[in-house]
């Protein structure tokens, strides 16, 4: 578990440092719509860009302004401070408008802070619809990205290499799904914090190293007997982008809750489905990354997302859902309100809370709301038991 926690809590973790030491390139990307297999296929380490370990916002605020999500601002802050100096390239994707603006803000900041823009800096566009022309457009974007990577890094991305990368990534996906099944058991033997750390680690570690570590960990988990769910409320965590182990700890350190599932931009939502290992690998990547998307940036998919969330709640036996959105995150702010309306109507307690990202999170305020929510679940349980006794 240590290797996962290291990878999940440090911008330049040991795995990245080792990769660089071998003289191999690293490319950062900002969004779950970037097919990381393209890079891994040619020995370039794809690393999901994150905003952890920021200790100020003077760079981020200067270029973005105050009224925008703190996640892309934290990425720019780290870039401005030279914390991404290990990057040989960066891919910016319009996951949302804040992330799209990271492209221009980073470039502009590069005029003032020498050397913070990697030599290879690429804007990878992603349509908001996955049907017909949307899918055709996305495939074209993938082909252009491949061509660009080949030209810049002097590599040849063949179908065979892509298929090998897909196979390697799928091994991790299958293992993560095994963990998800363990979280659905009556007695859960693993904390949400640890599972999330493992999932986040998968976005920064070399995949073969990751698969090997994950395999060992899953094997150990299957032998565990001690239930962590006993006497705790099972909750799901959903909403805005989060790679923050601290947020999971904040909830689980109440000693009253265990996170049994999440629907976040990192985690199982990103790694949930396997990619077809035969046929055209580019179509397979497009089908996975765009076609099976469960992110509110995609138009007209709310009902699908609600159905998926409901199914996950049922499978994991969650007693309540904590919905967080980073301040100024319109996508999740709006969707959380709809989820709350619809899930509460189904009798599923929900907590909707707005917050800042990562190191800027206001812990006291969050703790109050989380505790009150868990007490609400407790009160409801007791009342139901009481009513049951009376009848």
């Amino acid at each position: 578990m240590t290797v996962f926690h290291d990878a999940a809590t440090r911008v330049e973790c040991d795995s990245i440092a080792r990769w660089k030491k071998d003289g191999k390139p690293v490319v950062g990307y900002t969004c779950s719509y970037t097919p990381a297999e393209i890079f891994y296929a040619v020995d370039i380490l794809p690393v999901r860009l994150r905003g952890i370990e920021t200790d100020g916002m003077e760079v981020g605020d200067s270029y973005f302004g105050p009224f925008i999500c703190s996640f892309p601002k934290c990425i720019l802050q780290l870039a401005g401070k030279g914390r991404f100096s290990f990057l040989d390239g960066a891919i910016i994707t319009p996951g949302c408008d804040g992330m799209r603006r990271l492209d221009e803000c980073w470039r502009k900041a590069g005029e003032d802070f020498e050397g913070i823009v990697p030599d290879y800096f690429y804007y990878f566009d992603v349509p908001h619809k996955s049907e017909n022309h949307g899918m055709a457009w996305y495939i074209e974007e993938i082909n252009q990205l491949i061509k660009s990577v080949e030209d810049h890094f002097n590599v040849n991305i063949t179908n065979e290499k892509l298929q090998a990368a897909i196979r390697e990534f799928n091994k991790g996906r299958r293992l993560l799904n095994e963990i998800e099944r363990l979280r659905c058991e009556k007695d859960v033997v693993v904390s949400g914090t640890d599972v999330f750390a493992a999932a986040v680690a998968g976005t920064v570690m070399p995949r073969d190293e990751y698969t090997a570590e994950l395999k060992k960990w899953v094997s150990a988990l299957k032998k565990r007997k001690t239930s962590l769910s006993e006497g705790k409320h099972r909750v799901m965590l959903v909403g805005s982008i989060s790679d923050e182990i601290d947020l999971f700890e904040l909830i689980e350190n109440t000693q009253k809750a265990l996170i049994v599932g999440e629907n976040l931009c990192f985690g199982i939502r990103y790694e949930g489905n396997e990619i077809a290992e035969d046929g055209d690998p580019i179509e397979a990547l497009a089908g996975h990354y765009l076609g099976s998307s469960v992110c509110p940036r995609m138009y007209g998919k709310y009902k699908e997302r609600l159905a998926m969330l409901k199914e996950r709640i049922g499978q994991s036996r969650a007693e309540g859902v904590i919905m967080q959105n980073i301040r100024f995150c319109d996508l999740h702010g709006a969707e959380n309100a709809l989820f709350e309306r619809d899930l509460e109507a189904m009798g599923i307690p929900c907590l909707r809370v707005e917050r800042e990202y990562g190191p800027h999170i206001d812990i006291g305020r969050m703790k109050l709301r989380i505790n009150a929510f868990l007490e609400r679940i407790e009160g409801r349980k007791k009342a139901n038991k009481g009513d049951g006794d009376e009848t």
Binding site: E344, V353, E354, R355, G364, R365, L368, R369, N371, A372, E375, R376, G379, R380, K382, A383, G386
Partner: protein, 268 residues
Amino acid sequence: MSIVAGCDVGSLTAKAVIMKNGKIIGSHIIKSKPRPKDSADAALEGALSAAGVSKADIAYCIGTGYGREKIDFVNEVVSEITCHGKGARWMLPTAETVIDIGGQDCKTMKLDKDGNVDRFAANDKCASGTGRFLEVMAKVLHIDIDELGKLSAKAKNPITLASTCTVWAQADVIKYINSGVSIEDIGAGVNTAMAVRVAILVNAVKPEGDIFMTGGVAKNIGVLETLEKLIGKRIKRSRKADPQMAGAIGAALLSMEKIDGSGNNRLK
């Protein structure tokens, strides 16, 4: 029946309540000290003295409020949202919707038939709509915060505060003072600005049944009456106890439930 206690350490005041047989036998409120532990100790000491009992007589004590985790004499801690819900139901047994305005938080809760919080909404943006807003304004006006509420009734031409930001609203208030606007008209504007912020939160939970207000701001008649107009519903009053004590009362009631299950809070 055992003696129980509840201690609510808020950002502005700390409160302690001692209960026996479902009745308050002692209570005490103080201005919060820098350290929550010191506030809790002083509040409890005052309440014990008022009740004429000693710490050793307390069978169970629950702590609440922002400083709850720093109180060393409590048996357990519970969030102030739950405690205010319990306290409000005890003060007004028909209460179904509770508005609690604390020093740095504003919450609206809907209670189930047992007095448990079924839904709640809390301010997520800033200090506007909290007790701190009124405290800052009272200070600028050089009046006691308890006097602020009475100004609304005496106002002839209340001002309108353009900003919801406490700091900018403060700058506006200073501008009105310097322009010679009466304290009554400014005070009424301050109370209205506060009520507007709270009304947004109240409407967010769709208030039902009898509405009750807790926390120190519940004693500000100017905010209370303006809020009633804004939400179009009457906010019920109770003489049973000081609404500012509701969190500590709720904590004491939960203590009672813990030891003998007698903190019945069923809706009447």
